[in-house]
């Protein structure tokens, strides 16, 4: 049963219209597609989609009932006593009564303690269920950085959404590239901090197909509330593979660049013309502007490459003097950078990169190691990418 409180001032409709337009940052998943489903949702919880979710909810309801009963008894006693013994008129009348009763006091110290024992025990066992992975769990590497998620699978694929297979237990090995983050998937009732300088681990055994929200819950800076993505549970490994596999050679450079954008850049750079932590990327290509120190700059290949590898060198006015961007030197290689540049051009004007697919001279070496690599697709990189990024 999905109890909703009444909506204030009938705003639902306009809200829904606004939701239609929003897309979760860094993913291909529109926000509106993971509205709370009608089934499996209770007043208190999102749906249960992992093996230990039900145990967590049961404990929650147990504590809720114990607390509610205690609270109602306390408040009822308080209201009754206040009403019964309220002062009538100015006269202060006190019936003699004891001000101390050791037996009673020991009783109400010990009885609640007894109720607390099962709460502790149940909580502890549930905790170990959610923390100790099964031996056959596959390992997925989670890399968190401001404000992006990257999930790397045992077969080498990677994606910015977390793709899982139903009833296939996973151990998440988690690392942070910068500050503290925390991976939270409410539907799995799982949360674990991601600590720079340490590896942390989380365990999930998903039981229900669907798309679930995955958010960062450890405050990590300006884009904290945008550091959200999706955990999707698939029916089979093949089905998952279809979502995670990405063969660079099968895509034109701007598509490769678009994928890199989702994984690495979307936490800070928007493509809808609005500045966020960094400038909007759809307005970037070819733009002439000023650096923070007043020097004129033009967003050409050289400047893009420099900004990716050495973000602090020349910062756009309004975003400096110290850039908030981490250097991507060593993370994005030369090919990647040229793909990103192609994507920036595409964002500015798709005809810049899509109308001349035969303008050959590709630097693309197809480094991702995929098995089948159709030769012809490699040619799709425009010449200026190669020349300028090499400059």
């Amino acid at each position: 049963m999905n109890w909703q409180l009444p909506t204030l001032f009938g705003q639902t409709k306009t809200v829904l219209e606004r939701v239609q337009d929003t897309t979760l940052p860094g993913t291909a998943v529109p926000q509106s597609s993971i509205e709370r489903p009608e089934t499996g949702v209770t007043y208190w919880f999102p749906e249960q989609a992992s093996t230990f979710a039900e145990g967590v909810d049961d404990l929650y309801m147990f504590i809720l009932w114990v607390s509610t009963v205690s609270f109602v008894v306390i408040v009822a006693a308080m209201v009754y006593l206040v009403f019964k013994y309220r002062r009538k008129g100015k006269e202060i009348v006190i019936e003699p009564s004891s001000s101390h009763n050791t037996k009673l006091e020991i009783a109400w110290s010990v009885l609640p303690s007894i109720l607390l024992v099962p709460m502790f025990w149940w909580g502890a066992t549930g905790y170990f269920d959610s923390r100790i992975p099964r031996d056959d769990a596959e390992e997925i590497l989670v890399t968190a950085s401001r404000y992006n998620w990257l999930f790397t699978y045992p077969d080498g694929d990677s994606s910015s959404e977390l793709h899982l297979v139903r009833d296939q237990p996973v151990k998440l090995v988690m690392q942070s590239k910068d500050v503290l983050h925390s991976m939270y998937i409410p539907a799995f009732r799982q949360k674990m901090d991601i600590v720079p300088g340490r590896y942390t681990y989380a365990y999930i055994n998903p039981t229900k197909l669907g798309q679930y929200r995955l958010s960062c819950t450890e405050y990590c800076g300006e884009g904290h509330s945008k550091m959200r993505t999706v955990a999707e549970v698939h029916i089979s490994n093949e089905d998952r593979k279809a979502n995670t596999q990405w063969i660079k050679a099968e895509h034109p450079p701007w598509e490769n660049g678009s994928r890199l954008y989702k994984i690495h850049c979307s936490g800070c750079h928007r493509i809808d013309g609005k500045a966020a932590t960094g400038p909007a990327l759809n307005l970037t290509w070819g733009r002439k502007g000023k650096a923070h120190n007043g020097d004129p700059i033009e967003a050409n290949e050289q400047y893009i490459k420099e900004s990716i590898e050495y973000p602090d060198k020349v910062v756009v006015e309004g975003f400096g003097p110290v850039s908030k961007m981490n250097s991507f030197k060593g993370i994005l290689d030369q090919d990647d950078i040229s793909h990103v540049i192609a994507y920036l051009k595409y964002l500015q004007d798709p005809s810049l990169v899509t109308d001349s697919p035969e303008a050959a001279g590709s630097p693309n070496e197809g480094k991702s190691g995929e098995a089948e690599k159709p030769e012809s697709e490699d040619e799709a990189v425009s010449t200026e990418d190669k020349e300028d990024s090499d400059a």
Partner: protein, 570 residues
């Protein structure tokens, strides 16, 4: 002074601490604990207003899920708002609120003493508070603001360009202010009790202040060291907290919560002490189970040192440590529950007057009940994993800190206001303010429990649309709560200047501070205090001429006490 003259001061004293000396210097350089207490009261309430405005701004921003509401903040501005709201509320308001403001005024008088043990240190503590709060706010004026959250978690606080150094230095100084107050109270209670005032004749407010002081003296230095190390890491990269230089962020969390969890009890214990006084006086009944309440304060103070790790269940600390912290956390629930049961038992067969302070005290029991019980969800491990760092936690600690401490502070201020200023407030308006605070508070924070359980993370500038309705309830509630607090202080301020005169003891309270005139004399008492049980209300008799209650030995000083067969009831 003749005994007749002393008796007359119980009506309206001619000279008292407020008119003893005049001019700003008589306040700025005063060593009088009452004046320092009043300055503290003004100070912490200015901090409350500032941090409250920050809260209203950020709640208005959260009116719409994508930040298109009536108040539009950038993500950066939003982060600064919640950081400043938290830091100012915690360090400049809640921690000093009850002990340094109310405690300063009441503690020496409850002991029948002239002042605290170290009056100069007391004044220094207030100026440190001003300096610390100034440093905290300097972070705003530095141009960059402060965006780390009040917890200053590393390595974000080391990387950010904002005024972390100002703010942590401010919190460091505020820590010293807190230590000074604590040390002063410890020595005062140990050495300056009235003749015949044994430990078990202390009002329970003093037991709770004593327990609080122990925490302040033992835990605050750890915060000071931690914040200095943070500053050193930020400026010199010494390599303790930032993994870039070989440090460990989890270490910072351990250090930080080693102070900040006991600090939660610095906030709530004095509030519990206030409630013990209010419940007893307005029921006109001896507090039930005095020693259980007294020892539960000490138990909470000591156990409070052993549970810091429950803030870190998801932080990557070892699973065994996590298990142990969960177990100890549950034990803290017991002494708190004991207090609540004892307060209820005190109501039994009492003569309950629902005046403003009592309304606040009953609100406290209601709200603290919810705050305490929701702590069980967070103490249990598997549920905490789900609820950690969601709005459930936000709601839980606001129920304890605002529903608990702020409610108790308001109740206590209403209770002792006639003692401080010798004038009575409008009780009806006072009760209306309590009703507004109570309803506004519940409307603000109850929906946050539901949001949190459904998975709404903390510190989000924009959020999923399904939570918008709850945020809107919360925002409306915040404004009602804000209006209630403003109304409460308006009623009080009007009373301080224009309220009708009241005698020295309008509520028939029996603790020693009510044996002084209202407002009290500069030296607190113009006569030798008559030692009496703080909860033996039969000792107070009504004096029709003065229209107030007076201790029977002081009411008819010429008669010997034994020959005064006062009836048990009046």
């Amino acid at each position: 002074m003749s005994s007749e003259a002393i008796r007359n001061t119980f009506g309206t004293p001619e000279t008292h601490f407020l008119n003893h000396e005049k001019g700003w210097k008589s306040w700025a350089f005063t060593l009088d604990h009452k004046r320092i207490g009043i300055m503290y009261l003004i100070g912490v309430n200015v901090a409350l207003i500032m941090a409250g405005i920050f809260a209203l701004v950020l709640r208005s921003h959260l009116w719409s899920f994508d930040g298109t509401g009536p108040v539009k903040l950038s993500n950066e501005m939003y982060n600064q708002m919640f950081t400043l709201h938290g830091a100012v509320m915690v360090f400049s308001f809640i921690i000093p609120s009850v002990p340094a403001a109310l405690g300063n005024i009441v503690l020496p008088m409850m002991l029948g003493a002239k002042d605290v043990a170290f009056p100069r240190m007391n004044l220094a503590s207030f100026y440190l508070w001003i300096a610390g709060t100034g440093c905290l706010l300097a972070a705003i004026l530095s141009g960059n603001g402060l965006d780390t959250g009040w917890t200053f978690y590393t390595p974000y606080s080391i990387e950010t360009e904002t005024g972390v150094i100002y703010a942590t230095f401010g919190a460091f100084i505020l820590g010293f202010s807190s230590i000074f107050t604590g040390l002063n109270f410890l020595v005062t209670v140990n050495t300056m009790r009235a003749k015949g005032q044994t430990w078990f004749k202390l009002p329970l407010f003093l037991w709770s202040l004593y327990a609080t002081s122990i925490i302040q003296v033992l835990a605050t230095p750890v915060l000071g060291i931690t914040l200095l190390m943070l500053i050193a890491e930020k400026t010199m990269h010494i390599g303790i907290f930032d993994p870039k230089y070989g440090g460990d962020p989890v270490l910072f969390q351990h250090f930080f919560w080693f102070y900040s969890h006991p600090a939660v009890y610095i906030m709530i214990l004095p509030a519990m002490g206030v409630i013990s006084e209010l419940i007893s006086v307005y029921s006109q009944k001896k507090i039930f189970g005095y020693s259980f309440i007294a020892f539960s304060s000490i138990a909470i103070a000591l156990l409070g040192f052993l549970v810091w790790g429950h803030h870190m269940f998801t932080s990557g600390q070892s699973q065994v440590v996590t298990l142990i912290f969960s177990a100890i956390t549950f034990t803290v629930a017991i002494p708190s529950a004991v207090k609540v049961f004892n307060w209820l038992a005190t109501l039994y067969k009492g003569s309950i007057l629902l005046s403003t302070p009592m309304c606040y005290a009953l609100s406290f029991i209601f709200l603290f009940g919810i705050g305490g019980l929701t702590g069980l969800f967070l103490g249990a491990l598997s549920t905490d994993i789900h609820l950690h760092d969601t709005y459930f936690v936000v709601a839980h600690f606001h129920f304890v800190m605002v529903g608990g401490t702020l409610t108790a502070l308001l109740g206590g201020v209403f209770h002792w206001w006639p003692k401080i200023f010798g004038r009575m407030y409008n009780d009806t308006l006072g009760r209306i303010s309590c009703f507004l605070v109570f309803t506004g508070f519940n409307l603000t924070f109850f929906p946050q429990f539901v949001m949190g359980a459904r998975g709404m993370p903390r510190r989000y500038a924009t959020y999923d649309p399904e939570f918008q309705i709850f945020h809107q309830y919360s925002t409306i509630g915040a404004f009602v709560l804000g209006f209630g607090i403003v109304m409460a202080y308006s009623v009080l301020l009007y009373a301080a200047f224009k309220g009708p005169r009241c005698g020295s003891n309008p509520f028939r309270a029996a603790s020693l501070e009510w044996q002084s005139s209202s407002p009290p004399d500069f030296h607190n008492f113009t006569h030798k205090v008559v030692m009496t049980d703080p909860y033996d209300f039969d000792t107070q008799v009504y004096d029709e001429e003065l229209d107030t209650y007076v201790h029977r030995e002081l009411a008819q000083p010429t008669k010997p006490v034994e020959a005064d067969p006062q009836p048990a009831t009046h």
